[in-house]
Symmetry: C2
Subunit: 156 residues, 2 copies
DNA sequence: CCAAAATTGATAATGATTATTAATTCTAAT
DNA sequence: ATTAGAATTAATAATCATTATCAATTTTGG
């Protein structure tokens, strides 16, 4: 079963690689459909499965009911924001710190790998919060910087 | 909406607290049905939801397609075994190590919480592996110490 | 170009969970 | 204890995410 190079597969991979937002299958479907209006959701699922099975993308098992996909296969870590529900990548220093600390943990527990999801306010929400001191307990409106169909806060 | 004390809810909580196996809703349903044959799966789901919403139990978001529930609400950590698929708790020293290391991580990243699932061979499988040196690459048969309907290895 | 293999779109099926609803059970106040 | 009102139940339907099926189309390597 050699993997052939179809237009659909190419576009799915291209669109996913444009993003750093870890889309769900149906979010990616909406994007891909703008270029290939005839494509079906099943094709998107099928290709995401194949692409992750061949390590060209990552399939993420995060909290929430839907799987998410990541075009960035380099080692990195994810943080879900409790304000907007968005999943973002840890950057630079934070990233290195997680790696150091978790490798230490694997060594000490004798485990071989781990799945980690951090929960913390993302940079976008942090900015919004500090600029509205008069109402600090207000949760930021997810719609303001995320285009989810639901409330943006996925329940686990 | 005051929570009333029904037989169903009591039995569900009792049975869950007997276990340290982090059952799925349907696994718990099978157990509870031995005491209350008329109970419906919906009732089990409804009560697990209520009990976790009131912090009497934990709802776990681990890898795999089904949610799991935990009657032990004290802080502890979970490891899924790649051999048998079973989810077990980290004990004693390991436990303290994770807590220390992850608290440090939260402090350094400014995050507020995390979801962590470790992946490592569980004590039962470790014993089995070391006692069968002649075939070390063999994966232990999940059926041998897990009563799952599927193969016991949940795919993510 | 051609045959074999892989893939697609459409759609049905599945599995886990949540919602609906009429009937039953709890509760707390008499 | 009785009873009205609230909460819960069992049964079942509905939903949501994902996977499977399959005839038709596309891709591939010779």
């Amino acid at each position: 079963m050699k993997m052939s190079n179809t237009q659909q597969r190419r576009v799915i991979l291209e669109e996913l690689r444009k993003l750093d937002t870890h889309p769900t299958a149906d979010e990616l479907y909406d994007l891909v459909r703008q270029r290939l209006p005839q494509i079906s959701l099943g094709t998107v699922y099928r290709n995401l499965e194949l692409l992750s099975a061949t390590s060209q993308i990552l399939k993420l098992q995060l909290t929430g009911t839907q799987k998410r996909f990541d075009g960035n296969t380099a080692l990195h870590y994810h943080r879900r924001c409790p304000c907007c529900g968005r999943v973002s990548d840890l950057k630079g220093e934070e990233m290195a710190e997680v790696e150091r600390v978790l490798n230490e943990l694997l060594r000490k527990t004798g485990c071989r790998s781990y799945t980690l999801e951090l929960c913390g306010v993302c940079p976008a929400c942090r900015k919004q919060q500090s600029s509205s001191r008069e109402n600090p307990e207000n949760i930021n409106n997810p719609k303001s910087h995320q285009e989810n169909k639901n409330d943006g806060i996925e329940r686990q």
